[in-house]
């Protein structure tokens, strides 16, 4: 591969690709140390119960058991949490969700640890679980936690909230609970250190946030808690929260022995927060010509037992609830509530996929009512830079929302299903039970925008170090150090591309991500290419500045040039060239007297929190996307086959076309999954399908090849003009598939995932419960 393709803009291959393909790449669960102990977790079977008695004596007596740790063994703060520390390390006197950790065991092997779990005696007094978020938020509900049952309520008012146009559409929508279902279950290897600290090698999305929470719970200073990223088998938001980290560290310290702590698939489904289920009510009003006049929405999200990132998710849901449209008047209310359901938090899209399902269904209904096309209505109302958003924030450039919906609408449509089509192209596939005459095709569109980076005043900066030196062969080589968690998204690829481009070298080594360098922030919110890419770029630029200053000194140039050497020296073709003097020096010659190092911390522009009316400047930037989905539905069996997906996405400058393609295809597949198959089902607070047998994930037979159009308008304040690309396609894919299924069957479908029973049983029951806060038209 040429040097050009290995720099910014080329499809450089993943540096970890060969090791991943031949099986030698070490994931967190692959790590081992001779003599290490194996840890397992005891979980509450009850969604809500008092713990009357907890006795670990019998478990401790089992030969091979090294330690049993419970709430009484937590030396530091008893709780942790991403935003609010409300989640107990172990349930102590009360359990709040089915699956909540009560104890952990370390033993010589995993079977012994499992037997010890069975020997822990816990006497529960089950209490009636509160599993309906509207009940939990109501006056008569018991407080489920000392902090109360409401994580956050937002009431956004924009323009004249009472203004209304003559054309009105109004309805309610439901979104089920989706799981990130990353493929590698949670795991960590924890080693007690001689200095009294603890070293963790683990899979996570945010090393420094983990460290802060672990150190607080252990009662240790942060510098004694050291984390190194092990191989991460996917994340999608599900590794942003602490799960087994504190437990493993407690066991390693209790035993003085290295501990491997790991979850199996069932525990993974129970152990990390999920995507929030949502109940949403919308009323859109428009002029007879089709211009939106107002949007009213009420959104209630079920946050489950603990806060996780719920307060930020509901802010995203509310501020994006009107979609990427010009809306002069809005009343957008959101509420996220504590229940005895599993905790919910971050998942790809972070509150936006839910509201996109609602606002896009509303746009289709409005188009129907107005008698104009769904694309035309979206084009007519699409936001443009300079427009004022419902928060009062002025939309900065670029936001090619209109271009996105027009681009997908222009893509060729797939051929019709006929009796001659291969059986695998029919709904139900190889089962071959679809009667082609009873299959209906539908086409659906969705347009959305998604905020990039953290919002509401949070300064999620990223720090990186760069070092340039001669390698053993005397060639210039770069080393990059960032704590950015590589979870599969490709930061390791892009970081190398940036370093090669900025430093003009081919050899780049990326050090393991660890807490030996400053925080890179979370691998979430579509932020790492922008933020940690910006940090790597800034560190590389500083390295070159220092190297040029050294050369300027060596050349005896005046002090003002040494201060700003780029005025006199340029790098061209791997050489340092004196612009006026004509001096030429190779990088190797300049590096002969020693390495050059620099550290850079990258910040995005400051944002502000929302005020009491939901007004402010909360989001750094946005990206737009549009999907067109084409589906075939078997009317007899209610099976859906997604025939084609077209996506046009606002990507900013593309640093790696191949990585981009992987992100948008993967994001589309996850949105497709939520539309027609993925739901973590709870009954009275208990998850009934926590396995890959029962929680259906899209397979190669379910996901069509993506027809993708990249819209590449550079983002002005981002390095190279990049935008984050991971989340936006997940926001639109679900809504587009839902619209296509609606079009195919001619039925009002208001919940995802769409189930076969929704498609074959004409007697669809009404949606459960009223919109949050009573009458939807009240106030």
């Amino acid at each position: 591969m040429t040097g050009r393709a290995r720099g910014v803009g080329g499809s450089a291959p993943r540096p970890d690709g060969p090791a991943k393909a031949d099986g030698t790449f070490a994931y967190a669960g692959d790590l081992s140390i001779p003599g290490m102990l194996h840890a397992r977790t005891l979980r509450s079977p009850h969604p809500r119960a008092r713990i009357r008695r907890l006795d670990t004596a019998a478990a401790r007596r089992i030969p091979g058991v090294a330690a049993v740790v419970t709430a009484v063994d937590v030396p530091g703060v008893a709780t942790y949490g991403l935003i609010v520390a409300d989640q107990p390390v172990f349930a102590a006197t009360e359990t709040r969700y089915a699956g909540e950790p009560v104890a952990v065991v370390a033993a010589v092997d995993a079977p012994t640890a499992r037997r010890a779990l069975a020997a822990v005696e816990v006497e529960y007094e089950p209490l009636p679980p509160v599993v309906d978020p509207e009940v939990a938020a109501g006056l008569g509900a018991p407080p489920l936690h000392p902090d109360g049952n409401v994580f956050r309520e937002i009431t956004l008012r924009h323009g004249d909230p009472d203004a209304a146009g003559p054309v009105v559409v109004e309805d309610s929508y439901l979104v089920g609970m989706q799981d990130q279902a990353f493929l590698a279950p949670e795991a960590a290897l924890v080693v007690p250190a001689a200095d009294g600290g603890v070293d963790l090698r683990l899979a996570t999305q945010w090393l420094h946030s983990d460290r802060e929470q672990i150190a607080a719970c252990l009662g240790l200073p942060e510098e004694l808690v050291r984390l190194e990223l092990a191989g991460v088998g996917g994340a999608f938001g599900g590794r942003e929260d602490v799960t087994l980290q504190v437990h493993g560290a407690l066991l390693a310290r209790a035993t003085g022995t290295p501990v491997r702590i790991a979850y199996d698939r069932v525990e993974s489904f129970l152990g990390h927060p999920h995507r929030h289920p949502a109940r949403m009510w919308f009323r859109h009003t428009a002029t007879a010509a089709g211009d939106l006049v107002s949007v009213h929405a009420r959104i209630i999200m079920d946050g489950g037992a603990y806060a996780s990132s719920s307060p930020a998710v509901i802010a995203n849901a509310v501020t994006h609830a009107a979609g990427p449209y010009r809306v002069p008047n809005a009343r957008l209310d959101g509420l996220v509530v504590r229940t005895n359901n599993p905790p919910c938090g971050a998942m790809r899209g972070f509150g936006v996929p839910q509201v996109t399902i609602g606002h896009e269904a509303q746009m289709d209904r409005l188009a129907d009512r107005l008698g104009i096309g769904p694309v035309e209505l979206r084009v007519r109302n699409a936001l443009r830079p300079g427009d004022v958003l419902p928060t009062g924030q002025v939309l900065g450039p670029p936001l090619p929302a209109r271009e996105a919906i027009e681009a997908v609408a222009a893509r060729p449509l797939p051929a019709a299903l006929t009796a001659a089509s291969p059986v695998t192209a029919r709904p139900g596939g190889r089962g071959a039970h679809a009667d082609v005459a009873r299959v209906r095709r539908g086409v659906g569109y969705a347009l959305a925008y998604k905020n990039l980076l953290f919002s509401e005043g949070f300064d999620d900066s990223s720090t990186a170090r760069a070092r340039l030196e001669l390698d053993a062969g005397g060639r210039p080589a770069a080393t990059i150090h960032s704590a950015c968690a590589e979870v599969g998204q490709g930061f390791v690829t892009v970081a190398g591309q940036i370093a090669r481009t900025e430093l003009g070298v081919d050899e780049v080594v990326l050090l393991p991500a660890d807490t030996g360098v400053g925080s890179a922030g979370s691998t979430s919110a579509s932020r790492q290419t922008w933020m940690s890419g910006g940090a790597v770029r800034g560190a590389c630029v500083a390295v070159i500045d220092r190297l040029l200053a050294r050369v300027a000194r060596r050349l005896g140039l005046p002090p003002e040039v040494v201060e700003a050497p780029r005025r006199a020296l340029v790098i061209a073709g791997g050489e340092i060239v004196g612009a006026e003097t004509g001096t030429r020096l190779t990088l190797a010659e300049a590096l002969a007297e020693g390495p050059v190092e620099a550290e850079h911390t990258f910040h995005h522009r400051r944002t502000t929190a929302l005020d009491v009316a939901g007004q402010g400047d909360p989001h750094v930037a946005f990206a737009a996307a549009a999907h067109r989905a084409v589906v075939d539905v078997d009317l007899d069996l209610g099976l859906v086959h997604v025939v084609s997906m077209a996506l046009a996405q606002d990507c900013g400058t593309v640093l790696n076309p191949l990585s981009l393609r992987g992100q948008v295809e993967g994001g589309t597949a996850q949105g497709l999954g939520l539309a027609v198959m993925e739901e973590l089902v709870t009954v009275d607070g208990v998850v009934t399908n926590p396995t890959l047998h029962d929680y259906l994930l899209p397979t190669a037979a379910d996901v069509p090849m993506l027809d993708f159009v990249a819209l590449t308008y550079p983002q002005p304040d981002a390095p190279y003009g990049v935008k984050g690309v991971g989340e936006t396609p997940t926001c639109t894919a679900t809504a587009a598939v839902l619209a296509a299924v609606r079009a195919a069957v001619g039925r009002d479908l208001r919940r995802v995932p769409v189930r076969p029973v929704d498609l074959v049983d004409l007697a669809v029951p009404p949606l459960g419960g009223a919109p949050p806060g009573g009458s939807p038209t009240g106030e």
Partner: protein, 204 residues
């Protein structure tokens, strides 16, 4: 096979052509557990333990299976081939190179199993069309890629343009892999079959 401790078994497994001794194993241990926990063969991944995701795909006497749904003791007389045993060159190398070059690897946790499954598929059905490839690979779940680049990698191997120029030779086409891929069998014994699902869980 013998048992020195009551309820414990000792036996040998043939892993990638090497005889490996297993001692003191419990009867209920799956091939996956024995590979990972007793023999330190960590290229075989553990993701669902139900035969649903394909992350632990291996060849058992030339048939594609999920190691989590095979009792290790039942594999005592069989030849087990993992991704490492597919060899450093040949068709598997072309598959691996194509996966890297065509963006089929993201988090990579599904990749070793997919490399085994794809190598097996192309040995049995070198000219498989897209529909057959999709159906066959439906037992291997990838949560990252949406399968587009995986399909592209498979097609690239079929077209003899697997890896990048100079990184690997063109894939051999039409030949057998020499791994004993059982022509005429569906190669899915022991695998959860996820093909063609469009229904949803838990709605009885």
């Amino acid at each position: 096979m013998s048992g020195d401790v009551p309820g414990r078994l000792s036996y040998h497994l043939s892993i990638d052509g090497t005889q490996r001794a297993v001692t003191g194993a419990r009867l209920e241990e799956s091939l996956l557990t024995v590979l990972r926990e007793r023999l330190d063969v960590t290229s075989v991944k553990d993701a669902c333990e139900q035969g649903r995701c394909g992350a632990c795909s291996v060849l058992l006497d030339g048939r594609l299976v999920t190691a989590c749904t095979i009792l290790a003791a039942d594999a005592a007389d069989a030849r087990v081939v993992t991704v490492a045993g597919l060899g450093p060159g040949g068709p598997a190398a072309a598959v691996r190179a194509a996966f890297v070059a065509h963006g089929a690897v993201q988090c990579g946790f599904c990749t070793p199993g997919l490399v085994v499954a794809v190598t097996d598929l192309l040995a049995r059905r070198p000219g498989a069309d897209e529909e057959e490839i999709r159906e066959t690979l439906a037992g291997n779940i990838c949560r990252c890629t949406g399968y587009g680049r995986i399909l592209e990698a498979v097609r690239a191997v079929q077209a003899g343009r697997g890896g990048l120029a100079g990184r690997s030779g063109p894939a051999r086409r039409g030949g057998r892999t020499g791994l004993g891929g059982a022509a005429g069998q569906d190669g899915e014994a022991g695998r959860g079959d996820q093909a063609g699902r469009g229904d949803s869980p838990g709605w009885a």
